[in-house]
Amino acid sequence: MQRKYKFGVVIFLLVVVHAAILFAGFFAPYGYATQNRELPFAPPTELHFVDQAGKWHVRPFVYALADDSDNPGAYRTDLNTRYAMHFFVQGTPYKIAGIFASRVHLFGVSDPGRVFLMGTDEFGRDQFSRFLFGGQLSLLAGLLAAALSVSVGIVVGGIAGFYGGWVDDLLMRGGELFLALPWLYLLFAVRAALPLHVSQAQVLLLLVAVVGLIGWARPARLIRGVVLSAKERNSVLAARGFGASDAYLLRRHVLPEAYGVVLTQITLLIPQYILAEVTLTFLGLGVGEPMPSWGSLLASLQQYYVLSTYWWMFLPALLLIPLFLAYYSVADAVQERLKSVAL
């Protein structure tokens, strides 16, 4: 009972996060490329209900930020200037799912005030907006790569496990070979061969797709294991006895057994591929400015001065931890459910 309840919470969380990311334009107060050049590395804005005089406001408000004259590069809050928060305000135009154009944002403060829930980066861009927009690209990329890995894994692992013998040997040794090669050069080559006007988002999706395609070896090994045990089952042996074809056996009897493994692999691989982009950025293959992605938001922490000076730059990383934990617990739940079904 309690577990079920917890699982419900996890699913709810995932739905909320994914909805916020899908409708990023609406939930984000600013565009991902909107620069506030007077406010680089501004700390997260505090929301207030009580003003200096101790008076309560129904509408939350923020204080203005001003340069700290004693401490260059730092800010102080100007307690005399308040900006009230409004909901459903007009702002930077955006498109939802690339189709529905709109300018309405869930919240914002009156001009010239600014509200940065997660602070700003070196160009004074709102990190919160960038986090939401970045999720669109990263989730898509992660899903795409995971799906590619697993589908190649199903084909290769299925064939290797089902036929066994030299086919199995060949495919599995091929997998080892795949693991050992310096794939980075393929990525360099793919990136360099792309024409100039391919958008940054497409470049990233393509590169991550290549990473996913290369990553088939491990899921293939797992699926092969399942197939190996499944093909010895009595039902399969019986069906074979009735003269069923290999393709039919694979499709109807053997691969459905691998369903659980496939699902858990996908939920495990999505976070991995999202994080793989951090490494890509490290090697100069990440998404280009001004497009945000989770990988590039994390990658900005690589600069020592960011890491050691601006704590709010850690927020994207901290937010990803519960999200990924939710993914993993879905994977666990699927596994457990399958086990109980099998029993």
Binding site: L177, A180, L184, A189, A192, F282, S308
Partner: protein, 320 residues
């Protein structure tokens, strides 16, 4: 014996395949080592072209591959364009440093992972157990890069650990023991980081293997006979649960040369990592191929080791 022979032939084929495809991949990537010179206003294009010819970069892939094979036969493993000398000696020292690091990390991970895994398998759903579970899955979600950066920040801010490198600048002339102590101080942080990275997976595997074994009748019987708990766990249960763990161990041996790349770069460990990244970006082709080949050797060796250990430990498995 016949089995071993077959595996060795497989391994040789694999290594040839790896080296050849590495060459092919390198051929695809844009630019070559001498491109950087071309942007230098003080060096003429003619000189750059002459250098390309001198080092055979203008030759076709099969010709270059053949040259390289010959140099492998001599033990040189090719010629580094950047270092202007044979690759073998360049990577030998660095491979040793990498192995020192990954060896320590593997040791640390297994020394922590087995007891922790057994403990989570045997203690019920207590608080401590849950905290460990949450911690390990959280560790899974933190990118390696970030983890090592945070460790570095810790070292710099607290001054408890040296901020990277393998030796202190002053420790070179010291005697063996102070020197070993110095290396250990430098080793701890990166090795700890690597161990932490591999711990979650290790604990999970130990736990699931132990849970399966503990449920089996023969152990219930053993406990029923009044054999002490620790003895049951380590003397009877662990060897039976070892089967999947040995494969995992083989895997960690297999990745010994490649697993520490990011840690080495961030913590300035003088291993293969920084060399490989630099060579990759600079297109110092033979250094890259040699490094890849060396890690492929470890991959093959690790898998072979795991299989042989399995045969030795588990009497049910026979060599085909």
């Amino acid at each position: 014996m016949k089995y071993l022979g077959r595996r060795l032939i497989h391994a040789a084929l694999l290594l040839i395949g790896v080296s050849f495809f590495s060459f092919a991949l390198l051929q695809w990537a844009p630019g070559d080592f001498f491109d950087e010179l071309q942007l230098n206003p003080r060096i003429s294009a003619r000189t750059v072209e002459a250098l390309r010819v001198e080092y055979g970069l203008n030759q076709s892939l099969p010709v270059r591959y053949e040259h390289w094979l010959r140099s492998v036969a001599h033990g040189d493993l090719g010629f580094s364009l950047a270092y202007n000398s044979a690759v073998g000696p360049i990577i030998a020292v660095r491979a040793r440093n990498t192995l020192v690091l990954t060896g320590a990390a593997t040791l640390m991970a297994w020394l922590l992972g087995i007891p922790l895994g057994i403990w989570t398998a045997t203690s019920g759903r207590g608080w401590a157990n849950r905290i460990l579970g949450v911690t390990t899955s959280t560790l899974l979600t933190i990118p390696d890069l970030l983890l090592f950066l945070c460790l570095l920040l810790l070292a710099v801010r607290t001054g408890w650990f040296p901020a990277g490198g393998m030796f202190s600048p002053s420790a070179e002339a010291a005697a063996f023991w102070p020197r070993a102590k110095d290396v250990f101080a430098h080793l701890f942080l990166p090795a700890f980081g690597l161990a932490v990275v591999s711990l979650p997976v290790l604990i999970r595997h130990v736990r699931s293997a132990m849970v399966d074994v503990l449920a089996s009748p023969f152990l219930r019987a053993a406990r029923g006979h009044g054999i002490p708990r620790m003895r049951v766990l380590f003397r009877y249960a662990l060897p039976v649960a070892a089967n999947p763990l040995i494969s995992l161990f083989g895997f960690s041996v297999a990745t010994m040369l490649s697993a520490s790349l990011i840690a080495e770069v961030i913590l300035s460990w003088p291993g293969l990592g920084p060399l490989l990244i630099e060579a990759t970006l600079a297109r110092d082709v033979y250094v890259v191929v040699a490094t890849v080949l060396l890690s492929a050797v470890f991959l093959v060796f690790g898998n072979l080791l795991a299989d042989l250990l399995l045969v030795a430990v588990d009497p049910r498995i026979r060599m085909e």
